[in-house]
């Protein structure tokens, strides 16, 4: 699709149809998309860490699942989305390297996914689809015509969720 707006690491944005949203090379980070099919408004957050309460430097709210999702939903509603219409999709949360460190650094992908699900559930946003885990990177594109999320990988195929 054309008119794709890029969202960087620790960043978030919303668009109206016909613009779409993309984020490239998700590893252990999670891409959370929100979509209101009636208003055709899409949102995308590229989060790096589960919780803003566990680290000292938490000024960038787009970096954390807990603060980014809340902010993204607020932006969508301000732009005309209705909360009851909003559904979420998740992608990413991979473990890029195989050895497991004792202190859990390498499990960060899974922890990001768990935290994202928890926040969405708490906000009452249904998760329409999810492609998380594994050990490979993902590039995602949200089509605001229909809310479809294209997931592209290297060597693990491409799919719509």
């Amino acid at each position: 699709m054309e008119n794709l707006v890029k969202v960087g690491m620790a960043d978030l944005n919303i668009v109206h149809y016909p613009k779409g949203l993309t984020t490239l090379g998700l590893g252990s980070c999670i891409g959370i998309t929100l979509f209101d099919a009636a208003a055709r408004i899409g949102g995308l957050a590229h989060i790096m860490l589960p919780s803003s309460t566990q680290v000292r430097n938490n000024t960038n709210r787009a970096k954390f699942a807990d603060t980014a999702i809340v902010d993204l939903l607020e932006m969508m509603i301000k732009a005309g989305a209705k909360k009851r219409n909003v559904v979420a999709k998740l992608a990413g949360g991979a473990q890029m390297f195989s050895f497991a460190r004792t202190n859990g650094i390498m499990k960060i992908g899974a922890r990001n996914a768990v935290a994202s699900r928890e926040i969405l559930t708490r906000l009452g946003i249904p998760i329409a689809a999810e492609d998380t885990g594994g050990s490979y990177g993902r590039t995602i594109e949200l089509d605001t015509a229909n809310g479809k999320l294209l997931i592209k990988t290297i060597g693990h195929g491409n799919q719509y969720i």
Partner: protein
């Protein structure tokens, strides 16, 4: 005291640059020995980038790169990562295996072990110079290798930096062998508590 990268002052950055310089210098010497060829290097660039710009590194977030990761333990905890674009990884393997330098066919098992070994030597010599400078005991794990999108590989050090600040610090080094240039990137990613250990050992902070 825990501080983020953006709070480091000019002197501390100079020290990190110098560590990068010496570490990469040693790594290149080791590589030259391994290849039995003269290898030059440029002065390493210490770069500090916002996360948003991190994905633009290494030819863009979905460009294929090779990442070699080592656990660092001992007095300093964290990890070190050596990342290079796929084309440069091929060139390194080809040099080492005496293959045609333009050969970009898929990596074989043998190529992967060669890359791990190169990573091993580079990271090992990098860290041993750091160890000699600081008198800290620094141990590394066996290498772990991943070939995937740059953004996905870079997310690993970026997330660790994300715990303490909003920027990533890394060291970019160019190696030159005859007319063939290879660009490699080192990320030394200390755990939060290890920054002060490092800066203290270097005599930068009390």
């Amino acid at each position: 005291m825990k501080r983020s990268i953006e709070e480091l002052n000019a002197i501390e950055l100079d020290v990190l640059r110098e560590i990068g310089n010496i570490g990469a210098g040693n790594a290149v010497t080791a590589l030259a020995k391994m290849l039995n060829k003269k290898v030059d290097m440029s002065v390493p660039q210490v770069r500090i980038l916002e996360f948003k710009s991190v994905t633009e590194l290494l030819g863009g977030a979905d460009n294929l790169v090779v990442g070699i990761l080592f656990d660092v333990t001992g007095d300093l905890e964290g990890y070190i990562m050596f990342i290079l674009e796929q084309k440069y990884a091929h060139m390194l393997v080809n040099m080492l295996m005496s293959k045609d330098l333009s050969d970009m066919s898929d990596f074989s098992e043998m190529d992967i072990s060669a890359l791990k070994e190169i990573g091993n030597i580079l990271a090992g010599s990098y860290l041993s110079s750091l160890s000699a400078l600081t008198n800290l005991k620094i141990l590394t794990s066996i290498p772990d290798l991943a070939i995937d999108m740059a953004g996905a590989i870079l997310s690993v050090p970026a997330i660790e930096f994300g715990k303490i600040g909003n920027t990533v610090l890394f060291i970019e080094t160019e190696f030159k062998e005859d007319d063939c240039t290879i660009v490699g990137n080192f990320f030394l990613v200390p755990e939060v508590e290890s920054y002060d250990v490092l800066l203290k050992a270097l005599g930068v902070v009390d």
